[in-house]
Amino acid sequence: MGVWPKLRAGLITLAIVIALLDGCPMPQSAKERKVMERQLGPTAAGLVVDLDELRRDLLRPLRPAIDNAKLYQRWKLFAGAPKRRFRMWIDARAADGTWTTVYRVLDDDADLLADPLGYRRVRGAWNPRTGDGPRGSYRSFVTWVAGQVFDRDPAAVAVRVRMEKVLIGPRGGFAGTGEFVYEETRQRQDLRRREVRR
C-alpha cells in the first residue's frame, strides 16, 4: 500500500475527530450549565466545563476555516417542544385609528404575504426562541414587513407586529391566551422619512 492511502486515511480520521469535537453535546448557554450542575452536582459539572474548555482550545486554530464555511456539527431539530408557544399577528392601523389584522399565522381570513412570511428563512427572523425572546433580526423584520404592508395598503398609517402567547393542549391543539408580547410598531411617516434621508 502506498503513502497516499495512509495519508488520506489519516486526514479523514482527523476530519472525523474535529467533527465529533465540534458536535460534542456540551452545555452551551449559562442556562444549560445551571441545569447540568443541578443534575450532575458541582464536581462532575466542573469536570465537564474543563473538558469543554479543552475542546474549545483544540478547535480554536481551525475556527477560521470552519467559520468561512459557517459549519457546525451539533444538530438540534425541535430539541425543545414545550407547550408554551407563540402565534404572530400583523395589524395595520387606518387614519381613523382602527386596527385590522392583515396576517395571522394559520388564518385564511388574514393571510397577506402568507407565502413569504411562511418561508423558513424569513420565519427564522420572526419566530421567537421559546424562553429567550425575539431573535436578532426581529426588529429589522418588523421594519421590512411594515414597508411591505404600506406598499400594499395605501390607507395604512402604522403597522404592528406582535406575538400572542398560545398554549398547546394536553393532547395537542392550541388555544390563544390573549396575552401579547414582543410588540413592535412602525409608522408610515417614519419609514418615508428614512427613505428620503437615504
Binding site: 500500500m1 492511502p5 495512509k6 488520506r8 486515511a9 479523514i12 476530519a15 467533527a19 458536535g23 453535546p25 467559520d67 468561512n68 464555511a69 459557517k70 459549519l71 457546525y72 456539527q73 451539533r74 444538530w75 438540534k76 431539530l77 425541535f78 430539541a79 425543545g80 417542544a81 414545550p82 407547550k83 408557544r85 407563540f86 402565534r87 399565522v105 394559520l106 413569504p116 411562511g118 418561508y119 423558513r120 428563512r121 424569513v122 420565519r123 427564522g124 427572523a125 419566530n127 431573535r135 436578532g136 433580526s137 426588529r139 429589522s140 423584520f141 421594519t143 421590512w144 414597508g147 398547546i168 393542549g169 394536553p170 393532547r171 395537542g172 391543539g173 392550541f174 419609514l191 428614512r194
Partner: protein, 322 residues
C-alpha cells in the same frame, strides 16, 4: 492493532461505482437551486440579505469579505444571490463541479453570516455535504464534466474512491444521533407523556394545517415520538446493520437475526416515512428533501446498480410498448 490500522486504511481506499455520489450531487443541487429560486420568486433577496431598513441582514459588517468586496446593499445581495444560484446550478448539472461547489459554499456561508437567523440547520448540513462532494466523484456520471471528458477521450474511471460516500454515510448517522441526544426536554420522553410531536404539530408557526385534528390522533403522535427517539438514538446501529448486510454469508446469530428482520431496511424506511411526514405536516422548506437527497449514500453500490438496471429495463419496455 496494526491489523486494525490496515483495515481502517483499506476501508477509506475502497473503490465503487459513482452512482450514489452522483445521485447525492443531483439531489442536493436540486434542493439548493429550488430554494434559491423560491427566494427570488417571492421577491425576498433584498429582504433576506440587504442590511436594515431594506432587509434583515443585521449582521452585515466589514469583517465579512462579502461586505468588503460587494458592499452591504440590496445590489450586493442581488449579486451574491446570482453567484450562489449559478454555482448551485453548475454543481447540479456537473459543470466545473468542484469549483462550483467551493464557490457555492463560500458565498452561501457569507449569506448566512449576513443574516444568521435565516440560516437553518439544513443549510449548514448541505454546505457540509457540498464540501465533501467537492472532493468526491459525483461528477463522474450524468454530468457536463463527464460528457466533456468523454469527448476529450479521457473518461472518468468506472470505479471511483468510495470514501466520500462513506464519510457522508457517517454524516447522516451523526445528524440523526446528534438530534437525538440534543432532545433533552421531557416532552420527548415518557416523563413528558411523549407529547413532543403533538406539540410540534400543533405549533402554529410550524404546522402546515390547523391543529384541530391532533387531539384525535394523540396516541399515534405519542408512538411517533417514541419511534423518532429510537430512530435517532439508534442511528449508529446503522453502521452495524450495514456491515451485517454486507457480510451476510458470515456466521453469527445476531447477524442472521438482523438480516432476517431486515432491520437495515426498517431503519431506512423509517427515515423516509419520517421525512415525508415532516414534508406533509410541517412547513420546514427543503429540510425533508435535503435529508432524503442524502439517502443514496446509505445503500450498497450494488443495490443502486440493480435499481438502475431495473429502471432501465422498465423504461426500455415501456418505450418499446409505446
Amino acid at each position: 492493532m496494526i491489523r486494525l490500522l490496515h483495515a481502517w486504511v483499506a476501508l477509506w481506499d475502497r473503490r465503487e461505482p459513482a452512482t450514489a455520489q452522483v445521485l447525492v450531487r443531483i439531489g442536493v443541487g436540486l434542493c439548493l437551486v429550488f430554494d434559491l429560486l423560491w427566494v427570488r420568486r417571492h421577491g425576498l433577496i433584498e429582504a433576506l440579505w440587504a442590511p436594515p431598513p431594506d432587509g434583515m441582514a443585521y449582521a452585515a459588517n466589514r469583517t465579512l469579505w462579502a461586505v468588503r468586496w460587494f458592499g452591504a446593499s440590496a445590489d450586493a445581495a442581488e449579486q451574491m444571490w446570482w453567484i450562489a444560484t449559478v454555482a448551485a446550478a453548475a454543481f447540479t448539472i456537473g459543470l466545473a463541479t468542484r469549483v462550483a461547489g467551493v464557490v457555492y459554499v463560500l458565498v452561501a456561508a457569507q449569506l448566512a453570516w449576513l443574516h444568521p437567523d435565516g440560516d437553518r440547520g439544513i443549510d449548514i448540513a448541505l454546505r457540509a455535504v457540498t464540501l465533501v462532494m467537492v472532493c468526491a466523484s459525483g461528477h463522474a456520471r450524468w454530468s457536463v464534466d463527464a460528457w466533456i471528458r468523454r469527448r476529450l477521450g479521457r473518461p472518468f474511471p468506472a470505479l471511483v474512491p468510495a470514501w466520500p460516500r462513506l464519510l457522508l454515510f457517517g454524516q447522516v448517522v451523526w445528524i440523526y444521533f446528534s438530534s437525538g441526544h440534543n432532545k433533552t426536554m421531557p416532552e420527548w420522553t415518557p416523563a413528558g407523556d411523549l407529547s413532543a410531536l403533538a406539540n410540534v404539530l400543533s405549533d402554529p408557526h410550524f404546522a402546515r394545517y390547523s391543529a384541530d385534528w391532533v387531539p384525535a390522533v394523540y396516541p399515534l403522535t405519542q408512538i411517533a415520538t417514541a419511534v423518532t427517539m429510537i430512530f435517532e438514538w439508534g442511528a449508529p446501529l446503522l453502521f452495524l446493520l450495514t456491515w451485517y448486510h454486507a457480510t451476510a454469508d458470515r456466521p453469527g446469530r445476531v447477524r442472521r437475526l438482523c438480516n432476517r428482520l431486515h432491520l437495515r431496511w426498517v431503519w431506512i424506511a423509517t427515515g423516509v416515512v419520517f421525512h415525508v411526514g415532516i414534508a406533509i405536516f410541517l412547513r420546514l422548506g427543503i429540510f425533508p428533501w435535503g435529508m432524503l437527497a442524502l439517502y443514496p449514500v446509505l445503500l450498497h453500490p450494488e443495490e443502486l446498480i440493480r435499481a438502475e438496471a431495473w429502471l432501465r429495463t422498465r423504461l426500455t419496455r415501456s418505450g418499446t410498448a409505446a
